[in-house]
């Protein structure tokens, strides 16, 4: 089983954009530079699949928190889906998930929790979202309508795992299909969810580039980060 280490998305992006080896020169001071359209080719080459962002609160969503800490997230999602989530400190170097991880955000209410706030920002104010949940999107830079799914069983780790594996299986299938047919992944994924009678919300026509830049700024101000579970091999 993969051990639960997390690493900042920023470090991953810097690594993808830097030549080998990445030294101090490969570090990027401005987050805008990472999401610059000139990097499109390099980003597509290194992050060829799709993305997901988990919106959960470590205080109230115990099952998801345990599931994330267990470290199976990246093997469950597979190579084609990079799952991201917020972390309560900056982790530009791999950091192990421990029992005390997320503790500094335990006392935050759900209305101000960074994870929930970032998900909500992809939707119109009138849309009522049930948390916790996971939002899927296709690209770092383009405008798109992300797909959000509420995770119902949030108190039991095993139930969360089962539900997540089910969603990842559908998403992977939709990704394969989009790759083969050159159709929009999010549309195919939404259709597949409909077929499985899984309720979802489609977000605004969001510029993911702008969303990421705002998210990093928002989190940097709180010395926190967007991270993914470390996976070593393709």
């Amino acid at each position: 089983m993969t051990r639960p280490f997390v690493i900042s998305l920023q470090t991953l992006l810097e690594g993808a954009l830097a030549g080998p080896p990445k030294n101090l020169e490969g570090h990027v001071r401005s987050i805008e530079d990472l999401f610059s359209p000139v990097n499109r080719q390099a980003l597509e080459q290194h992050f060829s699949g799709v993305f997901a962002f988990l919106g959960f609160h470590p205080g109230t969503d115990g099952g998801i928190t345990s599931y994330v800490r267990s470290g199976t997230l990246s093997s469950d999602s597979g190579q084609n889906i990079l799952v991201l989530f917020t972390f309560d400190s900056r982790v530009t170097s791999p950091t192990m998930l421990r029992d005390q991880t997320f503790r500094s955000w335990l006392t935050l209410t759900t209305t101000v929790h960074p994870s929930y706030t970032l998900v909500r920002s992809m939707f119109k104010d009138s849309v009522v979202l049930n948390f916790p949940g996971i939002i899927f999107f296709e690209d770092f830079l383009q405008n798109q309508n992300p797909v959000y799914i509420h995770i119902a069983e949030s108190s039991n780790e095993e139930a969360v795992r089962t539900q997540m594996r089910g969603l990842f299986a559908i998403a992977n299938k939709a990704y394969q299909s989009s790759w083969e047919t050159q159709k929009n992944f999010l549309d195919l994924f939404a259709q597949a969810l409909q077929k499985e009678k899984i309720y979802y919300e489609r977000g605004n026509d969001v510029s993911l580039r702008e969303w990421f830049i705002s998210a990093f700024r928002f989190l940097s101000a709180r010395t926190s980060d967007i991270v993914s579970i470390v996976s070593l091999f393709k």
Binding site: T2, R3, F5, I7, T11, L12, E14, G15, A16, A18, P20, P21, K22, N23, L24, E25, G26, H27, R29, H46, F47, R90, V91, T92, S93, P94, T95, M96, S220, S228, V230, S231, L232, F233, K234
Partner: protein, 566 residues
């Protein structure tokens, strides 16, 4: 009741054991440091003769009279041909039942280093031990064991470690079971007894020339990489300078070995972006060991500063230039240059100032550091700061040199002393002005040699004549005055066993026996045969209520006293 018998089976673990464990920390450090900068044969032999021999004598005595046995089950063990208990496992990890003693382990260390010092990498013993461990467990366990041998300093040439691990990885093609693999090395048979394992000839199987599917390497490399990340995290949490210096050095070695294995067995297109980032980080961490090379060019009179105290300021400056406010946080997380306990101090001082204990080579690692990285230059009377150039210029030999060289202006002399004695960048480099009077290479060498002698005699005069002798000779010295002198010499001469002895005596007499024992530990690590140290140790142990160990220390004192008299 058979108390005597029980005492024999359950030896007391006490302060003497603490001393021996610290001695093993030092031994371990010599192997680790030497893996970065291999000592010359002369340095190695001096280390063994002048220091390890004394530690060995102490261990043998403690084993005989105190029934001392190792207490750490995570310690890797490795056989030697000179002394190894008959029924003990040849390799693996220490267990109480094995009957292995500290002296057996020390013999292995010295035998390994001796071989490497004379003949180069020691593959044969390492491979035999690795196959032995693989035979009883599996390849993952075996590779972890080899990494632990490296971490514990059993070898001072890292190539053997790297090559044997690579050979073991390739050996997976020899069979599905460990038995199949092992027998391929021993003409189709499995060694059964220790004697078989030690004497049967090992043949590298010809099948190893075949390729290995990269996918077989991933389950092995993955835990090794994650373990390395964990070790980096653990090292950052250390708050004792000698532990930090040792673990940092061992982690740098490990990063290097992992990089070599990945470059050999893992094609680029199989690596995720996360792995690429991790390996780039390992590369930077391993490269930071380059600071050790600086010590090769260090003049003998320069203070023995810690690598971090010389390294951090310019790197932190670069990180801050590039990354602004986040620079310190990223430097801390992405490299292994300082522990968390120093973050605030480093951030506030731009990496320029450190608490004294972090700015110098820790005294408990003076011997291994000096005899490996510092090229054999060991001076227990070394000073943490140079003397003012104006004071050095007054020394007769220095004045004679300047007169003979025709350098008569005071300002020229001071400028040259600033450059050569203090190691400052010449002013002319900064201002672009006239460089002033210059010395030829020959003159520079001559002045350096004179300065070395002058500096040392200044140090001895200050340490012994002006300070310690005051304590030795004057019984009426008040507590405050004694404390003032001790504080001064412990800041200026932190590698002197005599200073730690006086600190121990002072604190013991003032009722702080545990602190006194801590100082005595440093005294005896710096000078294991110091009979005055053993005298004080005996008194302190008695005051700590450990009569048996106090008697032992007294016995060592009487033996070392006789030795000192010869």
């Amino acid at each position: 009741m058979k108390l005597g018998s029980e005492q024999h089976h359950f030896p007391l673990k006490g302060q003497i054991q603490d001393l021996v464990e610290l001695a093993f920390q030092e031994i371990r450090a010599f192997g680790v440091f030497s893996s970065h900068v291999r000592p010359t044969r002369k340095c190695f032999e001096e280390y063994i003769q002048n220091h390890i021999t004394d530690i060995n004598a102490l261990i043998q005595t403690a084993e005989e009279h105190r029934n001392l046995i190792p207490g750490n089950n995570s310690r890797p063990i490795l056989y030697n041909y000179r002394s190894w208990p008959e029924n003990a496992p040849l390799a693996g990890y220490y267990t109480f039942e094995s009957g292995i003693k500290y002296s057996h382990l020390l013999t292995t260390y010295v035998a390994n280093w001796h071989y490497e010092s004379s003949n180069g990498p020691l593959h044969s013993r390492l491979l035999r031990a690795a196959l032995y461990v693989w035979c009883s467990k599996d390849l993952n366990y075996c590779v972890n064991y080899i990494f632990d041998l490296q971490k514990y300093g059993y070898f001072m040439i890292p190539e053997a470690i790297e090559q044997v691990i690579a050979l073991l990885i390739r050996s997976q093609v020899l069979g599905k079971s460990s038995q199949e693999v092992i027998s391929a090395y021993f003409k189709g048979k499995i060694p059964l007894s220790s004697s078989d394992w030690l004497t049967w000839e090992i043949e590298e199987p010809s099948k190893l020339l075949e390729g290995l599917d990269p996918v077989n390497v991933q389950p092995l490399l993955e835990p090794l990489i994650f373990d390395t990340l964990e070790e980096l995290e653990c090292a950052r949490d250390l708050n004792i300078p000698e532990e930090w210096l040792l673990e940092q050095s061992a982690a740098m070695l490990r990063c290097r070995t992992i990089l070599i294995l990945c470059s050999r067995f893992l094609e680029e297109d199989l690596r995720t972006v996360a792995l690429k980032s991790i390996l780039d980080q390992f590369d930077e961490i391993a490269a930071d060991a380059g600071i050790y090379m600086w010590y090769q060019h260090r003049p003998k009179f320069a203070p023995l500063s810690s690598p971090m105290s010389m390294q951090i300021a310019p790197i932190l400056w670069s990180f801050r230039q590039k990354l602004g406010e986040e620079g310190e946080a990223r430097l801390y997380q992405e490299r292994l240059l300082y522990p968390s306990v120093l973050r605030e101090q480093i951030a506030l001082s731009d990496g320029e100032t450190f608490p004294q204990e972090w700015s110098i080579i820790p005294p408990r690692l003076l011997w291994p550091f000096a005899m490996s990285i510092n090229q054999g230059h060991l001076d227990p009377a070394g000073r943490t700061r140079p003397f003012p150039p104006e004071q050095v210029e007054q020394v007769l030999e220095v004045r004679n040199f300047f007169e003979k060289s025709g350098i008569n202006l005071q300002e020229d002399r001071i400028r040259l002393l600033n450059e050569i004695y203090l190691g400052k960048v010449p002013d002319a480099w900064k201002t672009g002005g006239s460089p002033g009077v210059q010395l030829s290479d020959e003159q520079s060498t001559q002045l350096t040699s004179i300065l070395q002698e002058s500096h040392r005699s200044f140090c001895l005069k200050e340490l012994i004549e002006e300070n310690l002798n005051t304590i030795y000779r004057r019984n009426d010295l008040g507590k405050e005055e004694q404390e003032r002198i001790l504080k001064k010499v412990s800041v200026l001469y932190p590698w002197s066993p005599a200073v730690y002895l006086e600190l121990a005596i002072y604190h013991d007499e003032n009722g702080n026996h545990l602190l006194a024992w801590d100082y005595i530990l440093t005294t005896l690590l710096l000078y294991p045969n110091y009979n005055a140290g053993w005298h004080a140790a005996s008194i302190i142990l008695g005051r700590l209520g450990n009569d048996a160990e106090a008697d032992f220390a007294w016995a060592v004192y009487t033996v070392t006293k006789k030795g000192a008299g010869k």
